[in-house]
């Protein structure tokens, strides 16, 4: 009789859902699964060097392609090593499927070797999760897991598969019959279309507003609505501020772009939102890094909030006109309702702010300022590379000085702020976008959290460019200690760093160091556009700060460093 085992059922279901790449790490509880991966055709498995790398790579793959990212680990420590990556994906609503092996059901609950309750551990950081207790449930669980991860507000879903279920077999015909069973998800019915009455109200408010501003978030990009957003902005002359993960919603250098909003956003975006009479939040969640003090956030504005998740409406900021639905569908309808409009006084006011407070820094001859490095990368790649960052100062400088020309080219841990995301993130994005230039910009701190993935990058010949901005500090914490703790630099000094070039070379990677401003452009040009993996260390100003800055929990009134310095 033709049979199929649990491990193969999993792979077959993934393949049927269009999964072509998996990032994983083997271990005792997934040996049967790896035995099937060994000669399974149609799915490429990327063997990472640490499970956290698998999770971040799957996350970044998903962000860069819009497709499901899949990671795989064994039970116990393998599964717990995925946790940070799952949480990262959860905070930023990234469609991810995490598969973990589990000890056999016969010993489950008996503290068996490498047993851990990964379903319990990941309950608050997944959209949903499953422990498979019967092989006959497996086809439907995998289908349901993928559906949940990729629909509505996307997010990570975990499936924990005991070893005996991977080994057990059922007749192939039974698998086909089980696979055909429809999903039963009465409790899960995302609303994809906005309420027509709400959309009319929004159009009316846009028509009446004198000082409207759009805040575009990651939802715009996820729903593929960036062109519609641009159309709306241009039709009604509404300037667009972007959240960190909303960057790319409209080209950074577009006339109506206000670039990034919030703690380290531009002065003009923060001024525009603060002085606005109508804030249109689209696919974003009014995070505290955007609002600062919610009491003083856009005090005179009416708020339209468009989001697919009803729980985001009025969670942080009260929405006067909530519209629950998929951004793309809502914008299609909204565009039919709004009429062309000019807001000349408002745009002039914004132009004044832009002229008075542009993003600015002064180049130096003796050392490379980090802003200069990012600006150079931006110019060389024409704002069209796929950019990954780690977390910290370099991330904010990238958000400020990389002029994104396209949507869906930026992968960064926003909500979670996960250091260690950068190197594996670069790897995942390059797997998903093999023909594009992928540049992972990291700090010297975060790089060391996951640098082992340089080996994976080499193994699969992924031409990622990993750029370390080395300032010898945990720069963002140092900046807070400088400003708020009278320069008491507690545990932020990284002058004891490894020799990064030698480290890169140890992995067999072309590795270079750039120290002089005059060689910055030529060396970057040579290596960013090459077709091999490269590690580029750029030594930058040690104690540089990210400005402008609104201190945490404060308002625009307390904006610091409006001219780029204190």
């Amino acid at each position: 009789m033709n049979t199929i085992n649990g491990a193969r059922i999993l792979l077959e279901c993934l393949k049927r859902a269009g999964v072509s790449d998996i990032f994983g790490y083997p271990g005792g509880a997934v040996i049967p699964l790896y035995d099937e991966i060994y000669d399974f055709e149609g799915i490429t498995h990327y063997h990472v060097r640490h499970e956290q790398g698998a999770a971040h790579a799957a996350d970044s793959y998903a962000r860069a392609t819009g497709k499901l990212g899949v990671c795989l680990a064994t039970s116990g420590p393998g599964a717990t090593n995925l946790v940070t990556g799952i949480m990262t994906a959860h905070m930023d609503s990234v469609p991810m499927l995490a598969i973990t092996g589990q000890v056999a059901l016969s010993v489950l609950g008996k503290d068996a070797f490498q047993e851990s309750d990964v379903v319990g551990i990941t309950m608050p950081i997944t959209k949903h999760n499953y422990l498979v207790k019967d092989i006959k449930d497996l086809p439907n669980i995998i289908k349901e897991a993928i559906h949940l991860a990729t629909s509505g507000r996307p997010g990570p879903v975990l499936v924990d598969i005991p070893k005996n279920i991977q080994i057990e077999s059922i007749p192939y015909s039974e698998f086909e019959a089980l696979y055909k069973v429809d999903l039963d998800l009465k409790g899960y019915q995302p609303k994809y279309f906005g309420h027509p009455r709400q959309i009319k109200l929004a159009a009316k408010a846009i028509g009446e507003a004198k000082k409207p501003v759009i805040i575009a978030g990651a939802g715009v990009i996820k729903s593929g609505a960036h062109e519609l957003l641009r159309e709306l902005a241009e039709k009604c002359e509404i300037p667009v501020a972007m959240t960190l993960l909303g960057l790319g919603s409209i080209p950074s250098l577009h006339d109506l772009s206000l670039e990034m909003l919030g703690m380290h956003g531009t002065v003009y975006s923060n001024y525009a939102v603060h002085n606005s009479d109508l804030v249109i939040g689209i696919g974003m969640r009014f995070d505290d890094r955007i609002t600062g003090d919610t009491e003083q956030f856009c005090p005179n504005a009416k708020v339209i909030h468009i989001d697919i998740d009803p729980a985001e409406i009025s969670k942080n900021i009260h929405a006067d006109i909530p519209i629950v639905g998929d951004v793309k569908n809502v914008l299609i309808e909204l565009l039919k309702e709004v009429s062309e409009k000019i807001n000349i006084d408002w745009l002039n006011q914004i132009k004044e702010w832009k002229n008075e407070y542009p993003l600015q820094y002064t180049k130096r001859d003796d050392e490379i300022r980090p802003q200069h490095a990012i600006e150079t990368i931006s110019n060389i790649t024409k704002g069209e590379a796929v950019i990954i960052t780690d977390v910290g100062q370099h991330q904010m400088w990238t958000a400020q000085y990389y002029k994104f020309n396209k949507a869906g080219n930026f992968c960064s841990s926003g909500g979670a702020g996960t250091m260690g995301y950068g190197v594996p993130g670069g790897m995942g994005a390059q797997v998903g976008r093999p023909n594009d230039i992928v540049v992972s910009i990291v700090g010297d701190g975060g790089f060391q959290m996951t640098s082992q993935e340089l080996m994976t990058i080499m193994q699969y010949k992924l031409p990622v460019k990993t750029v370390i901005l080395n300032n010898g500090f945990l720069g963002m914490v140092r900046q807070w200690q400088e400003i708020f703790h009278s320069k008491r630099y507690s545990s932020v000094d990284l002058s004891m760093n490894p020799n990064f070039v030698k480290l890169g070379e140890a992995y067999g990677m072309t590795s270079i160091k750039i120290e002089k401003p005059e060689e910055l452009e030529s060396k970057l040009k040579e290596h960013l556009l090459s077709n091999e993996p490269v590690l580029i260390e750029i030594v930058v100003t040690k104690e540089d700060n990210v400005f402008p800055m609104i201190p945490a929990g404060k308002s625009v009134n307390e904006l610091m460093g409006k001219k780029g310095e204190l």
Partner: protein, 159 residues
Amino acid sequence: MEERFLISVIAKNRAGAFSRISGLFTQRGYNMESIIAGKSEKDGYSRITIQVTESASNIDQIVKQLYKIIDVEKVRVFDNTAVAREHMLIKIKSDKNTRSDIIEIANIYRAKILNVTQDNLIIELTGDVSKIEGFITVMQDYGIVEIARTGLSAMARTL
């Protein structure tokens, strides 16, 4: 202003559904006073009744967060016209001198005597919170050995 609310949840009876629902309250820091679960009128579905003390705006957010749990199908917040009842078993010290007094009081409360031994009585009582608590206060004079309360279960008067 914080008030007491009763929330009723209908959820698919799958592994972990109850943990997800109760976990939500600790994860997001909401004050939960009681939570009870049992089978509902629908096969394969549980009814979970939760008593919380929160502001009205937080209740709104709790309802939305509950709906995000995949297994949750229906959430309802009761106003104070809903019928809400709690069930209690209480064991009270009693001997031949106090037994008839206690039984007399229990009768006033329409409580039921479930078990009698030489030195104690087990009494069953159903009612709203003030009735239950009133009975407990009166019984303190005799000596309470054990209390098992279920937490509130509730139902709206309308359809």
